[in-house]
């Protein structure tokens, strides 16, 4: 009997062991089967997801900390298709709030590719709209109504420009794909955008990992002064109306550092509506005429010719020239702007009366190699290197070029046959205003990243003339501006400057009826704090820059000294002596 029990027990144990081993064997087989691998790989899809964390785009401030370009939250409104319960309700609600037709919403929801589980109905939806939609969802949730199941909102940033069209030509804009176009936004796109980080985020709570900190894009502080920029833009807009000019550009620069304090051009656009670009501009060079559009600037170039002549000791301020009203250079006769003879003139008189004949003679005295060497050292025909995208180089024909003729030496001396951008002229003239040292213009003042501040140092672009030449010429220009361009004067401040009235070249020769009016000037003469360049394109009330660009210069200079807190010369000298 006892043996019988033992046998039964043994039988049961063996049976259980066989079953157990069988179960384990089956488990091992299933775990290692092809299907198991397939299931595991499918499971991995739902185990987590790769998420890209885009850093917040760096902000842009003016020199006084006013925000010029920031970010604001907008939403991507989407629907999870497997969770969607009622297409009719979804289409009705979304078309009502998202300013879409019922058909458009239905098309997105019903005609998406078969393997899609999530459909974006609309992106860049404002916070206000999403808040209203969320309230609808909350009301339905409270009523246990699931007709809008699957509706979701994903927040992200959108570029925002609080000043709208202020300094739009300097800032540029960012499109929905996050890329910057024009100006600062394009030039510093990589710095501003930062580096996106992609992370595998598991759904298993046991594997919850820390999401890496994604540093924001670099914040930029510009040399621009927002208030001065606004004033200069207002003056430019008003001057276009007053003088009937087609377009224009005004730049205000610190001659000692090259920092751009204001850069106004027309037309401008509200950067928040960047899609207007194609309605506002015909081509990219119009976006910022100050740097993108080269033109024959005319007599403002005479200051460079005179600088070269003084620096090579070809002339002194007292050198006399008998102006007969014409001069022949390279077999071509050159005449004065009024086709008159001005008789005996010294070099100050030549600048004061802006005599083409005199300056053409000066260029011939300097000699072609020296003249063009100086012009190249002044940066003509080369980009200034400003940290804005879309800069034009202008054109300086030099001996040896196929289209250079000997007469060009004479015409180039008074600004014909050579094209420059307003900024190139300003940079070249900075050598005269800044003791012979030419500065590289820039708009970036400082960069801020991860709590560190990097100040952008001023850069010098060479010394094309000596300090003595610079001082002498500045005095000559200060004298000539008093007699030649009364409209440019600023009471209380000694200003140096030069007008430029340039005919416009066409395919049939120079247009006799239209001009480009320019003025370049700086002050106070004994310690220059600002340089201003004014360009009015084809003014209608007068073709002469002394009657158009010069008064605009004066107005800009007036606003500049107020904004920068620059006291009149007398007050400054009085305090300076203490």
């Amino acid at each position: 009997m006892r043996q019988q029990y033992a046998n039964r027990s043994l039988f049961i144990v063996i049976g259980l062991v066989i079953i157990g081993v069988g179960i384990i064997a089956q488990m091992v087989r299933i775990q290692n089967s092809e299907q198991a691998k397939l299931f595991l790989s499918r499971g991995d899809i739902y185990a987590g997801e790769f998420r890209t964390f885009n850093p917040e785009r760096g902000e842009i401030y003016d020199r006084n900390g006013h925000l010029l370009a920031g970010n604001r939250t907008v939403y991507e409104v989407g629907v999870s298709l497997p969770q969607m319960k009622d297409v009719d309700a979804m289409a009705y609600v979304l078309s009502t709030y998202l300013n879409m037709t019922d058909g458009e919403v239905r098309d997105k929801l019903l005609n998406s590719p078969a393997d899609w589980t999530y459909v974006v109905v609309k992106d860049y939806v404002s916070t206000e709209t999403v808040t209203a939609l969320q309230q609808v969802l909350d009301r339905l949730d409270a009523a246990d109504d699931n007709r809008l199941n699957g509706l979701g909102f994903k927040p992200h940033f959108e570029r925002s420009y609080p000043e709208k069209n202020l300094a739009s030509n300097v800032l540029g804009f960012v499109t929905q794909d996050g890329r910057g176009y024009f100006g600062i936004e394009e030039k510093y796109n990589d710095l501003l955008a930062g580096v996106p980080v992609q992370v595998w985020v598991p759904r298993d709570p046991n594997k919850a990992t820390e999401i890496p900190r994604v540093p924001n894009g670099t914040t930029l502080v510009l040399t621009l002064d927002r208030d001065l920029q606004a004033k200069v833009e207002n003056i430019l807009d008003q001057s276009l109306r007053d003088y009937g000019a087609k377009n224009g550009a005004i730049i205000v620069m610190d001659p000692k550092t090259g920092g751009i304090l204001a850069m106004a051009t027309t037309p401008r656009m509200d950067l928040n509506n960047y899609t207007d670009y194609f309605q506002v501009y015909d081509n990219g060079s119009q976006y910022n005429r100050s740097i993108g559009m080269a033109y024959e600037a005319g007599s403002v170039v005479k200051i460079l010719t005179m600088a070269a002549a003084l620096d090579t000791n070809t002339v002194t301020p007292g050198t006399t020239f008998i102006d007969t009203g014409s001069i022949e250079v390279g077999g071509i006769t050159i005449q004065n702007w009024d086709r008159q003879a001005w008789g005996q003139q010294d070099m100050i008189g030549c600048l004061k009366h802006s005599l083409n004949v005199c300056l053409a003679w000066v260029a011939t005295q300097i000699g072609s190699p020296n003249f063009y060497s100086y012009m190249e050292h002044f940066g003509l025909g080369h980009p200034t290197g400003i940290d804005l995208s879309g800069e034009a180089m202008g054109r300086l024909k030099i001996p040896g070029d196929s289209d250079w003729y000997p007469v060009d030496l004479g015409t180039n001396a008074f600004g014909q046959g050579v094209t420059v951008t307003p900024l190139q002229m300003l940079m070249a003239a900075s050598a005269i205003a800044n003791d012979g040292q030419m500065v590289t213009p820039h708009v970036l003042y400082a960069m801020l990243r991860d709590g560190h501040q990097y100040n952008v140092p001023s850069q010098y672009a060479g010394s094309p003339i000596s300090a003595q030449t610079a001082h002498t010429l500045t005095d000559m220009l200060a004298v000539s501006v008093v007699d030649e361009s009364v409209g440019a004067l600023l009471p209380g401040y000694r200003i140096a400057g030069k007008t430029g009235t340039a005919q416009i070249p066409t395919e049939y020769g120079y247009d006799p009826n239209h001009t480009n009016a320019s003025f370049i000037g700086w002050g106070p003469v004994d310690d220059p704090k600002f340089m201003i360049y004014v360009w009015l394109q084809e003014p209608e009330t007068s073709i002469w820059s002394s009657q158009t660009a010069a008064p605009v210069f004066s107005e800009v200079a007036q606003q500049t000294v107020i904004t920068l807190n620059l006291p009149p010369d007398m007050v400054r000298n009085q305090y300076g002596s203490r």
Binding site: K164, Q558, I562
Partner: protein, 152 residues
């Protein structure tokens, strides 16, 4: 015969041996249960901490978004055009050069803009994970021992 008697005298009763086996088995079970309970507790805490971190990170992101929105909104409200309009509505007008008085203040240096000052301060506020979140148990013990030694 005498040896057998001695063995029998000292041999434990079968029920006693069985009880020892059962006891040992139960001990193993209890130890395993304790280890399992500890593991469960620890992994639950880790999971909760992980979730807390994720929630806090989500909060940080939301606050950063809110900050950016508020900053932009403030800039909208204080934009050049709006400030000019508000000033005009309050009866102000642009100043003319002749209306300005300049006062000489010895040693006065114009202040830097806030944005630059804030940046200089923020170096001391840069993010740093406390050590407690990254050090191992041994490192923590070592730290404690050293700190106690230092206190003495």
């Amino acid at each position: 015969m005498q040896a057998t008697q001695i063995i029998h005298a000292y041999k434990q009763a079968p029920w006693r041996v069985q009880r020892q086996y059962v006891g040992a088995f139960l001990l193993v079970i209890i130890v395993l249960a304790l280890v399992a309970a500890l593991y469960l507790d620890l992994s639950a805490r880790t999971t909760l901490a992980g979730r807390d971190i994720q929630e806090l990170q989500a909060q940080i992101t939301a606050i950063q978004r809110s900050n950016a929105d508020l900053e932009t909104e403030l800039a909208d409200l204080t934009s050049s055009a709006i400030m000019q309009q508000r000033a005009l509505e309050l009866g102000y007008r642009p100043v003319k050069p002749g209306e300005l008085d300049y006062v000489f203040v010895p040693g006065y240096v114009a202040p830097e803009p806030d944005i630059l000052l804030a940046s200089a301060d923020s170096t001391s506020r840069s993010f740093a994970l406390p050590e407690i979140y990254s050090q191992s148990l041994l490192e923590w013990l070592d730290d404690r021992i050293k700190s106690r030694g230092g206190m003495q």
